[in-house]
Symmetry: C2
Subunit: 235 residues, 2 copies
Amino acid sequence: MAVKYKEIADQLELDIRDGKFDRTKKLPTEDELMKTFEVSRNTVRKAITQLVNRGYIYQVQGSGMFLRDKSVTDYINLGSLRGLTKDLTSKTIETKILNLRVIEADEEKAARLRCQKGSKLYFCKRLREVDGEPFSIEVSYFNKEIVPYLNEDIARTSIYSYLIDDLKLQISFADKIVNCEKIDEDSAKLLNVKPGDPTLIIENTVCLANGTVFELSQSIFHYQKAKILNRINFK
Amino acid sequence: MAVKYKEIADQLELDIRDGKFDRTKKLPTEDELMKTFEVSRNTVRKAITQLVNRGYIYQVQGSGMFLRDKSVTDYINLGSLRGLTKDLTSKTIETKILNLRVIEADEEKAARLRCQKGSKLYFCKRLREVDGEPFSIEVSYFNKEIVPYLNEDIARTSIYSYLIDDLKLQISFADKIVNCEKIDEDSAKLLNVKPGDPTLIIENTVCLANGTVFELSQSIFHYQKAKILNRINFK
DNA sequence: AAGTGGTCTAGACCACCGT
DNA sequence: CGGTGGTCTAGACCACTTC
């Protein structure tokens, strides 16, 4: 990491998740944190801002920094990219690869991925099962220029861990579009619902730190099993 | 406003929306902004952070600050509290009050609003129409301790403008839960869809700067007309 | 009045991008 | 290499809460 404010934020996140501040529902003051971590006030405040943005705490001028109510687990977190494995911690998750191959970008994909028509893309279709029952179908397209290699092993465990930890990609921002439709026949079969039942859909366009689009994805969720949580801050 | 970094952020937001940087898709450098606004670098950077969080720009170290692709209009913005009127700018929006009265909190509402059972609440049920067609049903509960007065006029135009501009409430953070269900018969009639059709649902718990919960709401959307957009950043 | 967070400044040095 | 953003420090003053 090597960046102080992130290290401090990560440490405090662990402490919060450990319940270290549950008794008081309050964090140490900025002054105390400055002493504990031996950094300047600005650095403490930058760390704190991370925790606010991650949805853990809120600040009250003149009073202190307080824990937000714990979010119920088992919600899909729209504000993170950590994936199902990290969101649904109390569940067992299995992934089945339905399809994984290299394709060429058609006009529509090329436009959305901002690459040339005919560029090589990884196409990956997966079925995610939670506690042994079908939960979602995820279809992803990766620009092969940026993700030069992918295999079933990686796709079965965690593509994102591979991208971040192994390929060292710096994921920076994303557009997520959520809506809801009647499910088609094929997807219904896979998710074990009736054709025409509702389905929750998230479309995702993900960019690297330099602004390049590197992934498009569409996730189709079982409407009775999936709930999305989004924690937001204004200021 | 009286706060420099917010004023700068607001000014730059206007400039961006005006297309002032469309030619280059790039913002002035931090140095230039420091000179333009006559503030320190930290203040410029704080303003910039606002624009990043609002989803307008991304920063590339060593290179500059760039515009993100314009988000399609007519999406519901999950990351703002500005309400339909501000999200669907190209549409005409009408609001019909289905019900507005003071009720007493039952056990469940009291728990969720963190108030006493029996506390007075404003209950408000509205039908929102976009371009003359039913779009959503919004049911809200406001703690009357915090929102002491509400009438049909206010509920028909914008409750949030009233809360922020008139009551000077400082809204600080919110939990939003999104899911999708089969619509019930009553709602189906109002939204002009068939019972059992899909419907997109957002449940919202909104808190003030001091941490108090002051609103619960549930919005039920027409599944073919509503799309939610969420722009997120990692760093 | 004391405690605590919010804003702002000035300056230093580092890391990355492009030429 | 120069230009540009990223991190960090030290210190001042303000605004709000709590007692």
